[in-house]
């Protein structure tokens, strides 16, 4: 045998071993009962030398039960809300500039700001000075009025932001329920798609997801030592050089946080932390709540992070706040990420926000009374940030960010906070476009039937090949089995989901993998009939059929790729399986069977049953 054959054999063996190795987590995953699969029982059952436990095949929603929702974000309403607020802003701008006008309000269709005036030219000029970079003056305003519309790119941005907010809000809420492996992503221009495997209560899911975000401002009660007794009830959190050290003990732990007090002194505040929200909520209910005075205090939960980049890990922690909700998001007119204007250390990312007229009054009072205290912004029951109030804020405020972070991180954080503040300001309701709920009892039955169907299909094909092509048929059968292993291994590696149509796709790719072997064997038969020697017939057969196999696979691949881009959920699962199957089939038919065939026909006198 020549060197090239040795190399090819080595590749085949390596691929085979790696595939089997890759399937270890998947093997352990399916060995467990469906209830135990998504818990840490699974993590523990996978041996430490195996690939990362996350890399396993999961069952699609159609096979394990759960909820698939596609939510449409009412972006037009978000834009209309923006117009309403902008009308207020323009009114106060005009008042400030002393331009004569008789009120500004949204136009009848709600998409423009309409100001009534007797001096249209002056009003138009003044507003253009202030808002010219975002708004333009469309033609066709009713007599005695001037209209201002948002430029297209601005409207696009509002829409995109509204969807982004909706996604963020939904993610927050879902994190709170502790659903395992939820999949939340934006789809198209106005949709958010949510997959909740194993989740059984669609009514609850819809109810919680459908609400618009609730934003509250509360003052942190940093002076209170109420939480200190927890130190004797919980273990202390393990800490490393740069803060929290993972993993955190199960059932929560305590740590300290240095806070500055209005008096100028500082204090070590007790904070309770846990790895996830569900755990922390439990600790709070059982151990923390009894320590506080509910008429005056409340416990907020936020998320903190340690490490950077790929090492970044989050945990949940408590904030001790006053029970009174000082303000709600209704009063915020707008918020955006911006940059610090200062001469020294300028250009740092900050968040600026604007209050509505009524909000400004409340904010002024609140901030004057609580200078140097922390104000927690709570979005949907999650403390997003708790910056110190540096000075009195009224209609326009800004939030400076804590130090010790890179510019990139600060910028991201600023955008995040702006989004949170705006989430309170812009109501962007969601509607359910698509809902697919699969009960938990349906899945196992389908898995059983699907597996049976696949095995029967595979069996029939194997028997046919062995009977029809005999020796070469058996070689094709070995390749076919390897093909199956390879497909499952690659799917496991990418953590793909197996759906019901995916099983059908798997079966189909096995059939198609045989096609290539049929082409090869038929060609070899033809060469043998033409009087070629066995060895030569095999070589010629593979060489001549190579491009045919590639062509046949590429055309089907083209269709599968289009399907992957079109389909969602189960159908996408089918396309993914088909693509992986076709690639594996090319490898097994062109490389694997050839290595075996060449081995069996290595002598000129060899005979081949084909």
């Amino acid at each position: 045998m020549d060197r090239s054959w040795n190399w090819r054999l080595a590749i085949v063996l390596v691929v085979t071993v790696l595939s089997v190795y890759q399937l270890i987590p998947t093997w352990h995953y399916f060995k467990l009962s469906p209830e135990a699969r998504n818990t840490d029982v699974f993590d523990k059952s996978v041996p430490s030398w195996a690939p990362k436990a996350r890399k396993h095949l999961t069952l699609g929603l159609d096979l394990q039960g759960g909820i698939h929702l596609a939510l449409g974000v009412d972006v037009d309403k978000a834009v209309k809300a923006k117009v309403t607020r902008r009308a207020d802003e323009i009114a106060s701008w005009l008042k400030e500039k002393k331009v004569a006008f008789d009120g500004c309000a949204p136009s009848a269709d709600g998409v423009r700001v309409e100001c009534r005036t007797t001096d249209a030219a002056a009003l138009e000029k003044s507003v253009s000075d202030g808002y010219g970079n975002e708004m333009y003056v469309p033609a066709g305003a009713p007599a005695g009025t001037v209209q201002f519309g948002f430029m297209d790119k601005v409207v696009q941005e509002f829409r995109a932001k509204a969807v982004e907010q909706a996604e963020k809000t939904i993610r927050n809420r879902i994190d709170k329920w502790g659903v395992t492996e939820p999949d939340i992503k934006r789809k198209g221009t106005n949709q958010v798609q949510i997959q909740l495997p194993g989740f059984k209560d669609p009514q609850k899911a819809k109810e919680l997801i459908g609400r618009t975000a609730q934003l509250e401002f509360r003052i942190c009660d940093d002076e209170s030592p109420a939480l200190d007794p927890i130190r004797s009830q919980l273990p202390v959190c393990p800490s490393g050089r740069d803060g929290m050290h993972f993993p955190l003990p199960e059932g929560g732990c305590w740590t300290v946080e240095n806070v500055e007090l209005p008096t100028g002194a500082s204090r070590e505040n007790t904070v309770v932390a846990a790895a996830d929200r569900a755990q922390l909520d439990k600790v709070i209910a059982e151990k923390v709540k009894p320590l506080i005075d509910p008429s005056k205090q409340a416990i907020g939960v936020g998320e903190s992070f340690v490490g950077e980049g790929a090492f970044r890990k989050g945990y949940h922690r408590t904030f001790l706040m006053r029970s009174r909700v000082e303000m709600t998001g209704d009063y915020i007119a707008d918020a955006r990420a911006s940059f610090d204007q200062g001469a020294i250390g300028g250009g740092k990312p900050i968040v600026t926000f604007a209050m509505s007229a009524e909000g400004a009054r409340l904010m002024e009072k609140l901030t004057t009374e609580n200078v140097k205290r922390r104000m927690a912004t709570v979005l949907d029951d999650k403390v997003e940030t708790a910056p110190y109030i540096q000075s009195t804020i009224s209609s326009n405020g800004q939030i400076t960010l804590g130090g010790g972070k890179s510019f990139q991180e600060m910028n991201e954080e600023a955008n995040e906070i702006a989004l949170v503040l705006k989430a309170g300001a812009l109501p962007a309701p969601v509607t359910i476009f698509e809902e697919r709920t699969v009960g938990a009892t349906l899945g196992p039955e389908l898995v059983k039937k699907g597996t049976l169907a696949a095995l029967v299909g595979l069996g029939i094909v194997l028997v046919f090949m062995a009977l029809y092509y005999r020796g070469s048929g058996l070689i094709a059968d070995v390749a076919l089995a390897l093909n199956g292993v390879l497909v499952l291994a690659v799917m496991s590696m990418f953590g793909s989901t197996l759906t019901l149509p995916g099983i059908a796709g798997f079966v189909l790719t096995l059939g198609m993998a045989v096609d290539a072997n049929v082409l090869i064997n038929e060609r070899i038969r033809e060469e043998l009939r033409a009087g070629k020697g066995t060895k030569q017939a095999v070589q010629l057969g593979y060489d001549k059929v190579f491009w045919t196999i590639v062509d046949a696979h590429v055309t089907t691949l083209a269709a599968a790729v289009v399907l992957m881009n079109y389909g969602t959920g189960p159908v996408r699962g089918f396309a993914v399986t088909l693509i992986i199957g076709l690639l594996a089939s090319m490898f097994t038919s062109i490389v694997v069977t050839r290595v075996m065939m060449e081995y069996f026909t290595r002598h000129e006198t060899a005979r081949l049953s084909v």
Binding site: E434, V438, A453, G511, E522, T548, D551, T555, G567, V610
Partner: protein, 387 residues
């Protein structure tokens, strides 16, 4: 080995595929036109494409489908369809209604009147039957949600939830009333009607009509894109003179596969699009095998008439074009035995697509190329050959 090597398709056949093309074309044309005509009459669109609500309900004992339909119709769904799902013995039914909202425009008017009579509604409340069971109310000042709920229920519409949301303009409040949806209504009604048979809702699919339309259009486009990609690939790899034959063959295969859904009245949904796309990609495989041989023979037998080369090439490759399809078809047997519902349809339509794909390779694609070449040659006054 006990078996001696045998060929399912004997080699050395001399069937005149090119000569029979007229009969084949007429036959295919009739079938294709029949499919198109039949599908204009109406396809059984699933909720994916038509929008609506679909529920899979399993009963613990035998239930008369007529009684289920009657029950669903009494709830006000005149267009409800009730199908047995899977084997008879499983007592499972698919209930489909075309609407996504329980409430009709008339109900909505009644609700608005009732609420206006009791609470200070600002502007006109909004309701969109395409979007489900939501009514949005605006008020000048906060109102009691219980009072709002009572007002809506007073008008005869059951309320699932009342949400308090922020108003658009400063100071105003907006409330969203979620009325009881189709799933809850049907589930409740079946539970009462068939208490003994313990109905269990195993799966619910709900697709808004706007999304349905979008999915339908996208699905149609996806099929076209895939066809275009394949035609371009085959054109680049072989010769663009082969393209018309390929186009005609894949359109032919796609239409006939589609015909399965049109004639059988089985549900046409996302999975059906997946089948058609796969058939389009797969049926070209055989065509590619034959074209490859035509090119090979064309070089070997220069000067021979194109028709003869094509006939020879199809005959020489008859074994493999038949066997590849046969092997793939074999793999589908398991799905045909154990598959239920859309998976069975998937396997059946795929099987038809595979068979038709092979037929079109033999009788449509390659002979079409000959026909087109001969026409072009007649115009140019030369003899058709291939190089």
């Amino acid at each position: 080995m006990i078996f001696k090597s045998f060929d399912i398709v004997p080699h050395g056949t001399k069937f005149d595929f090119v000569g029979k093309r007229h009969i084949a074309v007429v036959l295919s044309l009739i079938v294709n036109l029949a499919v198109i005509g039949w599908s204009i009459k109406g396809l059984n669109f699933g909720v994916d494409f038509a929008g609506g609500t679909e529920m899979e309900v399993k009963f613990s004992q035998a239930v008369d489908p007529g009684a289920i339909r009657h029950g669903v119709e009494e709830l006000g769904f005149k267009d409800a369809s009730v199908q047995t799902y899977g084997a008879e013995s499983e007592n499972t039914f698919l209930i489909r209604v075309g609407r996504v909202a329980m409430m009709s425009a008339a109900d909505f008017e009644k609700v608005v009147q009732a609420v206006r009579a009791q609470l200070p509604v600002k502007g006109s409340p909004s309701f969109n039957a395409d979007m489900g069971d939501k009514i949005e109310f605006q008020f000048e000042s906060p109102v009691d949600t219980a009072a709002l709920r009572a007002a809506v229920e007073g008008a005869g519409v059951r309320v699932a939830d009342v949400r308090n949301e922020q108003g658009l303009a400063a100071g105003t409040r907006s409330y969203t009333v979620i009325t009881q949806g189709i799933r809850e209504k049907v589930e409740h009604d079946l539970g009462v009607r068939f208490a003994q048979a313990k109905p269990e809702v195993r799966r619910v699919e709900y697709v808004g009509p706007a999304v349905g339309r979008e999915l339908r259009n996208q699905g149609f486009k996806a099929v076209l894109y895939a066809m275009a990609l394949i035609v371009i690939y085959v054109g680049l790899r072989f010769d663009f003179r082969f393209s018309p034959g390929v186009i005609i063959a894949i359109v032919h295969d796609a239409i006939i596969t589609f015909g399965y859904f049109a004639f059988s009245g089985r549900e046409f949904n996302l999975t059906s699009i997946a089948v058609i796309l796969t058939v389009v990609g797969y049926s070209v495989n055989d065509t590619v095998v034959v074209y490859d041989r035509i090119r090979e023979n064309g070089l070997k037998l220069q000067g021979k008439a194109l028709g003869d080369i094509v006939n020879l090439s199809i005959n020489e490759t008859l074994g493999r074009t038949f066997l590849t399809s046969f092997a793939t078809a074999l793999s589908l047997i398991g799905l045909l035995i154990f598959g239920v519902g859309e998976i069975w349809d998937f396997a059946m339509a795929m099987l038809i697509g595979i068979v038709v794909g092979t037929y079109s390779t033999w009788f449509i694609a390659a002979p079409m190329t000959v026909w087109l070449e001969e026409r072009a040659a007649k115009k140019a006054g030369a003899k058709a050959t291939i190089a």
